[in-house]
C-alpha cells in the first residue's frame, strides 16, 4: 500500500463526518447544535432512558454524582490542559497543582475565618490559579520538553505537600463547610441534589468552549500553533515565544483553577489527598486519549477517563488494570487519539516534530 493510501485510510472517516456536517445549511447546523446542547443539559436523566441508560449508568454509585464530581471536572480540566499541551505543545505533568490552588482558594475564602460569598470567591480562585501559572511559568518556561514536564510534576507535588503541612490550609484533615453556589429559582444547590451543579457546570463548559474556540482562531492561537510546531522557527519569525507560552500557561491554569473551585463547592470538603500526583497523570491521559489539540476530542477523553472506571466498578480491584490496558490499546491502535486534531496530518507525521 502506498503512503497516500495509508494516509487517506487513516483520516477519511473523520473528515467524512465533519465535512458532511459542514456542508449542511446554516439553519440545519444551528438546530443540530441546539438539540445536542439541550440533550446534554438533560444528562442527569439519561440513566432513565431505556437503552442509553443501561450504557451510561454507573452501578454502585450515583450517576448524578459521577457526572458532577468526575465527568464535569474532567471535561473542564481536559479543556484547560489542552490549551497548554494541545495548543502550545508544552508538557505539563503538574496540572493538578492549579486545580488544587483553585479548590483551596474557594475553600479558604468561603469557610471559617473569611466567610466570603461563593460568587466573590470564584473570580479570586481563577485569579489565584492564574497567578500560580505565571509564577511557575516565569522561571520554568525557558526549559524545553521533558525538563518542563518534570519541573511541573514537582510543582504539583509541592502544592499538595504544602497544603498537607500548613495548618491554615487545614493540614492533612483538609477544609470543610465550603460554601455552595447561591440557589436561585427552582435550582437549589444542596448535598442531595446534584442536578443544578450539572446545569451550572455545563453552562461553564459551554462558555469555556466558546472562549477557547475564539482564542484558538485568533492571533494568540496561531502563535501557539507556531510555538508547538517549531519553537525556533517561531522565534525567528518574530513570535515572542516566551510571552505566548506564558499566556498558555496562565489561561490553562485559570481553567484548572475554575474546575478546582467548582469541585470544592460541589463536594463541600477537600483535603490534600484529593490532589494526588496520579490525578495529573489522569488529566494528561484524558487529553491525549481524546486527541491532543482537538477540543471535542479532549472533551471525549475527559468523559471516558472519568466514566470508564466508574462504569466498570463491578470489576472492583481490577478496574485500574483494565483502564491501564485500555490506555495502551488505544495508543497502539489510535495514537492520534479518538477524535484527532483536524490539521493533525501536517504536525504529527514523524518523530522529528518531537523537539
Amino acid at each position: 500500500m502506498s503512503l497516500t493510501d495509508a494516509f487517506r485510510r487513516r483520516t477519511a472517516p473523520q473528515l467524512r463526518v465533519s465535512n458532511k456536517f459542514r456542508s449542511l445549511p446554516k439553519s440545519a447546523r444551528w438546530s443540530i447544535g441546539a438539540i445536542i446542547i439541550a440533550a446534554c443539559y438533560f444528562t442527569p436523566y439519561w440513566p432513565d432512558v431505556p437503552v442509553l441508560g443501561w450504557i451510561v449508568n454507573t452501578p454502585g454509585t450515583s450517576f448524578e454524582n459521577v457526572l458532577t464530581d468526575q465527568i464535569m471536572m474532567f471535561i473542564l480540566v481536559a479543556l484547560g490542559l489542552n490549551v497548554v499541551v494541545g495548543f502550545a505543545g508544552l508538557l505539563d505533568l503538574g496540572y493538578v497543582g492549579f486545580y488544587a490552588v483553585g479548590a483551596y482558594t474557594t475553600a479558604v475564602m468561603t469557610s471559617g475565618q473569611f466567610s466570603w460569598p461563593w460568587i466573590a470567591a470564584m473570580p479570586l480562585s481563577i485569579l489565584m490559579a492564574m497567578i500560580a501559572g505565571v509564577v511557575l511559568g516565569t522561571p520554568t518556561l525557558r526549559l524545553r520538553g521533558d525538563y518542563l514536564a518534570i519541573v511541573t510534576l514537582g510543582f504539583g507535588e509541592i502544592i499538595r505537600i504544602t497544603a498537607n503541612n500548613s495548618d491554615w490550609l487545614g493540614g492533612p484533615r483538609g477544609i470543610n463547610k465550603i460554601a455552595r453556589p447561591p440557589s436561585f429559582g427552582p435550582f437549589e444547590f444542596s448535598v442531595l441534589n446534584a442536578k443544578p451543579y450539572w446545569y451550572l457546570g455545563f453552562t461553564v463548559i459551554l462558555i469555556v468552549i466558546f472562549a477557547l474556540t475564539r482564542l484558538e482562531n485568533s492571533r494568540v492561537g496561531r502563535a501557539w500553533a507556531a510555538v508547538r510546531e517549531d519553537e525556533d522557527a517561531a522565534e525567528l519569525m518574530g513570535v515572542n515565544t516566551f510571552k505566548f507560552k506564558l499566556w498558555a500557561f496562565a489561561i490553562g491554569a485559570a481553567i484548572g483553577g475554575l474546575a478546582g473551585a467548582l469541585y470544592a463547592s460541589k463536594v463541600g470538603f477537600i483535603n490534600p489527598d484529593n490532589f494526588q500526583l496520579q490525578l495529573s497523570i489522569l488529566f494528561l491521559a484524558a487529553v491525549v486519549l481524546g486527541g491532543t489539540g482537538s477540543m471535542y476530542g479532549v472533551i471525549m477523553g475527559g468523559i471516558l477517563v472519568a466514566w470508564i472506571p466508574e462504569r466498570f466498578r463491578g470489576f472492583d480491584t481490577r478496574r485500574y488494570f483494565v483502564f491501564g490496558v485500555v490506555l495502551v490499546l488505544v495508543m497502539v491502535f489510535r495514537p492520534q487519539g479518538i477524535i484527532p486534531r483536524r490539521t493533525a496530518a501536517a504536525g504529527i507525521s514523524g518523530k522529528e516534530e518531537s523537539e
Binding site: T140, D146, Y147, L284, G324, V328, M331
Partner: protein
Amino acid sequence: MRDWLIYRTFWDLTVSGVALGLIYALIALGYTMVYGVLRLINFAHSEIFMVGTFGVLISLTQVFGINLFEDGEYPYRSGIALVMILIGSTVAAMVVSGAGAVVLERTAYRPLRGAGDTFGAVVLAFLTGLIASFLFTDSMMTNLMIAAVITGPLAVVYVRIFRKGRQAPRLAFLISAIGASMAMAEAGATWGRDERVMYKTPRVLEKKVLLNFYGADVRIDYVIVAFGAILMMTALLLFVNRTRLGRGIRAVAQDAETARILGVNVNSVILVTFLLGGAMAGGAAMMFTLVYDQTRFNIGFLLGVKSFTAAVLGGIGNIKGALLGGIVLGLAENYGSAIFGGQWKDVIAFIVLLVVLMFRPTGILGESLGKARV
C-alpha cells in the same frame, strides 16, 4: 522513619544519603538510557523496579525456601550460603526486571514506532482477551482460559493492523507508558492471595555495623549497596563505551535515522537498552530490599519519580549524570529533612531540581549518551 532523621549527625545523614542516592542512581540509569535512545520518559520503569523486588521476594521465599522468621528470630545466614543467596536473588531480580522491560518495550512501545511484531501482538491480544473476560466471569482460571482462546485469532488481526503502522506522536508513547505502568502496578497489587498488602522480605543479612565514621554507623548493607552499585555502573559504562552493541546504543542515541541508514538494527538496539535498564532496576530492587526488607505494589511510583528527577538533575541521557544526580538528590533529601523537617523532604528534592535547572538547563553534567548532541 521521619523524625529521627533530625537528630542524627551530619556524617550519619551523609552515609545513608549516599546509600539512598545510589539506589536512585541505579533506577535512574534505566530512565536515562531509554530517554537517550527513544526520547521517552519511560513511566513504566518504576514498575519494572517493582517487579524486580517481587522477583527478590519469590527467589528468597520460594527458591531458597527462607521463612520470614525462624524460631522468632531473623533467618540470618552467613558465609558461603549468604553469598550464594545474595547473588542468586540479585540474578533473579535482574532476570525478572530485564524480562519485564523487554516485554514492555515490545508490547507498549514498539507497535507505536510502526514496527509492531508478532510478540507484541500476542501479548496485546492476550491482555484484550483478559479484560474482555472480566465482563463475564470473576474466576481467574476461567478468565485466563478465555483469554488464551481469544489470543490466537486476535493476534492475527493485530499483526495485520501492525503492518500498516507508522510512527506515533510523542505524547502517545507517554500515555502508553502510563497505561502500562498502571496495568503493571495493578497486576502486582492483585497478585497473590491478599491484595494490596505490604510484603515483608526475609532478612538474611545481619546488618552489623562495620565501622564507625565520625560517629556515623557504616552498616554492612550500605557497603554492599555502594560496591554493588559502583560495580554495576562500571560494567554498564564499559559495555556502552567499549562493545559493539554499546556503540550501536550511542549511535542510535545520537541520531536514530542516520544509524538506521548506516546499518544499525535500531529495534534490537532499543531492545538491548531496555534489557540493560531493566537489569539495573533489578539490581536496585535487590539493594532496596536488602536495606528496607519490604515491597509493595506501589513501591515503584515515588522511587521512580525521584529517580527520574535524579536523572534530569544529572543531565538526562548521561550515565555518569545519573550517578551524580542520584547522590546529590539522596544527600539533599537527607540534609534537607534534617534542617526543615521530614515532611518537607519531597519539596526539597524538587526545589533543588528547579534551582539546578535554572542555572544549568540541561542538568549538572548536560545531556549525552556517549557524546554531546544538538
